[in-house]
């Protein structure tokens, strides 16, 4: 009886607990260094996939596809932010998730890369490398978006298919600056979250 009551109180709380990011392609978990067929003939392979998730209190966390331990978010907030807002970008904190050592910091134009994707696309026998450093917080090209988490949901799931197929690899294989092109990719990324 006691044990039952104990569970009764604990289980609902788990629902409000930490969230785990789930990156999917089709019905399988996304993996780096794996070829994904895009539209029957073209394929894409990613070697780096990292992005920032945070909360409204200015705490941020770097999710890195090469390290599944980073998929557990260290927050219990119901509102999450994908990509840092301008305050976090300019806070001058250079520790933890903000450490420039993580390769997400733009030193010459203060701010952080919010989404880093590098890899190759294969189309008609041609290999095209791409390098997307997506960031920016100055109006109107912000790369930050907050959204509410369904409290019952332990997983924050992103289905990456639509992001990968929307990448402008043929025309613009490299983006290293804030601006409209960066914002468009960021918007595609945010829309992959359920």
């Amino acid at each position: 009886m006691l044990r039952f009551l104990f569970l009764f109180f604990i289980i609902p709380n788990l629902g409000f607990g930490q969230h785990t990011v789930k990156l999917m392609v089709g019905s399988a978990p996304f993996q780096l260094h794996t070829n994904y067929l895009m539209n029957g003939t073209d394929s894409i392979r990613l070697d780096q996939f990292k992005f920032y998730v945070g909360n409204q209190r200015g705490d941020f966390h770097l999710v890195d596809a090469s390290d599944t331990t980073t998929f557990s978010l260290p927050f219990t907030d119901r509102v999450l932010i994908i990509g840092m807002d301008s305050l976090a970008n300019t806070s001058g904190k250079l520790e933890g998730a903000f450490d420039p050592l993580l390769g997400m910091y733009w030193a010459w134009n203060t701010g952080y890369i919010q989404l880093k994707m590098t890899g190759n696309s294969y189309s008609g026998g041609i290999t095209r490398p791409f390098d997307y450093h997506i960031g920016g917080y100055r109006v109107p090209f912000s790369t930050s978006k907050s959204f509410n988490i369904l409290t019952a949901n332990q997983f924050v799931t992103a289905n990456l298919d639509s992001l990968f197929s929307s990448l402008p690899i043929q025309s613009t294989p490299n983006i290293m600056l804030p601006g409209p092109a960066a914002q468009q990719i960021f918007n595609s990324f945010v829309s992959t979250f359920e």
């Binding site: 300019t90 001058g92 904190k93 250079l94 520790e95 450490d99 420039p100 050592l101 910091y105 030193a107 010459w108 134009n109 203060t110 100055r138 090209f141 600056l177 804030p178 601006g179």
Partner: protein, 338 residues
């Protein structure tokens, strides 16, 4: 009792005359605005300051241990780079911009000629990692510091750091650079009513207020805005300045208004160091026929035409912005690691 009284009086006299605290640590000059640097995030200590100074002068920070911060920022020239129009780096590589003087950085809302860098601590990553400057990686420099027993001990003492991280390195450098306060020139002593301008300096000051003060605003002698001063784009580098940061066409070829403090010693001048003499600079501003587009409206409105006499007077005034207690402050000089 008597002796203490005399010493006390002497002490006060010295302090009000020198206006520079003895330890080299940051201070806020009287009547200056509130500094913008976040001191709560990096509380200054003498040991932190001295660690920052050791790092500033140590070529260990560069990729091949040949270049230190002080290679391009020499104290006697207000921490600017004399004799080189643009900065130099490892393997004799040359940068695109004139290494600016370092002073009063606690009041800077942004750094670099294009204003791209928003905090002092983060600024140091740029020269550290730029291939034309120190050419090192953060990983590389932290590895070297963590293998160095002198630095291990010092960082432990200052930050309680078992392992030296990015933030420790940058905060230590910040403790030194934020302490480089220059506010004790003849101009300052005149403002404090401790001395007076000569007649020529006074004439120069009046011209300055009329023609220059709008952008080079006291007490920092810059309003931190981005302007085009009519020197025209650099033919060699095609550096579009502020537009590189904002992406706006209207910001093309605008550069940050630099401070005029210690301007006598911080040659060469302009963002690309194209002018080596202060006389040349004044001559440029004094003759609107020399100006090349783009030209900011502040300058256009003045439509300057200063006589050679006026130019000499202005030069005399600018020299009153030289602060020898700063240029020769022994606290800012190289000290062998202790």
């Amino acid at each position: 009792m008597m002796r203490w009284g005399v010493l006390h009086l002497l002490g006060i006299g010295l302090i009000s005359f020198m206006f520079v605290p003895g330890d080299g640590l940051f201070y806020r000059p009287e009547k200056w605005p509130k500094p913008l640097y976040n001191f709560d995030d990096n509380p200054l200590t003498l040991e932190g300051f001295s660690l920052g100074r050791t790092l500033f002068y140590d070529p260990i920070l560069s990729q091949d241990s040949t270049v230190s911060c002080a290679s391009c920022h020499l104290q006697y020239t207000a921490f600017a780079h004399v004799d080189h129009s643009t900065s130099h780096g490892i393997n004799s590589r040359v940068g695109k911009r004139n290494a600016p003087g370092l002073m009063n950085l606690a009041w800077y809302p942004m750094f670099h000629w294009d204003g791209g860098v928003l905090n002092l601590n983060g600024q140091a990553i740029n020269p550290l990692t730029h291939p034309d400057e120190m050419g090192e990686t953060l990983e590389g420099v932290l590895k070297k510091l963590n293998r160095n027993s002198y630095y291990k001990t010092k960082f432990m003492k200052v930050f309680g750091a078992e392992h030296i991280k990015t933030s420790h390195l940058l905060k230590a450098l910040g403790q030194f650079t934020v302490s480089l306060v220059s506010a004790n020139s003849k101009y300052d002593s005149v403002m404090r009513k401790e001395s007076t301008f000569t007649k020529q300096e006074q004439r120069g000051y009046s011209l300055f207020i009329k023609y220059c003060n709008q952008c080079h605003t006291a007490p920092l002698f810059t309003n931190f805005e981005f302007k085009a001063n009519g020197i025209g784009p650099n033919n060699q580098f095609n550096d579009s300045g502020r537009a590189l940061i904002t992406g706006k066409a209207a910001d093309a070829y605008l550069f940050r208004v630099p401070t005029l403090r210690n301007i006598e010693y911080s040659f060469p001048y302009m963002h690309d160091g194209r002018m080596s003499k202060l006389k040349e600079v004044i001559h440029h501003y004094a003759n609107s026929s020399n100006w090349v587009k783009p030209i900011s409206k502040e300058l256009k409105l003045k439509n300057n035409s200063l006589s050679p006499e006026d130019q000499k007077d202005l030069l005399k005034f600018l020299k009153t912005l030289t602060d020898r207690t700063f240029l020769f402050n022994t606290n800012f000089q190289y000290h062998s690691p202790n």
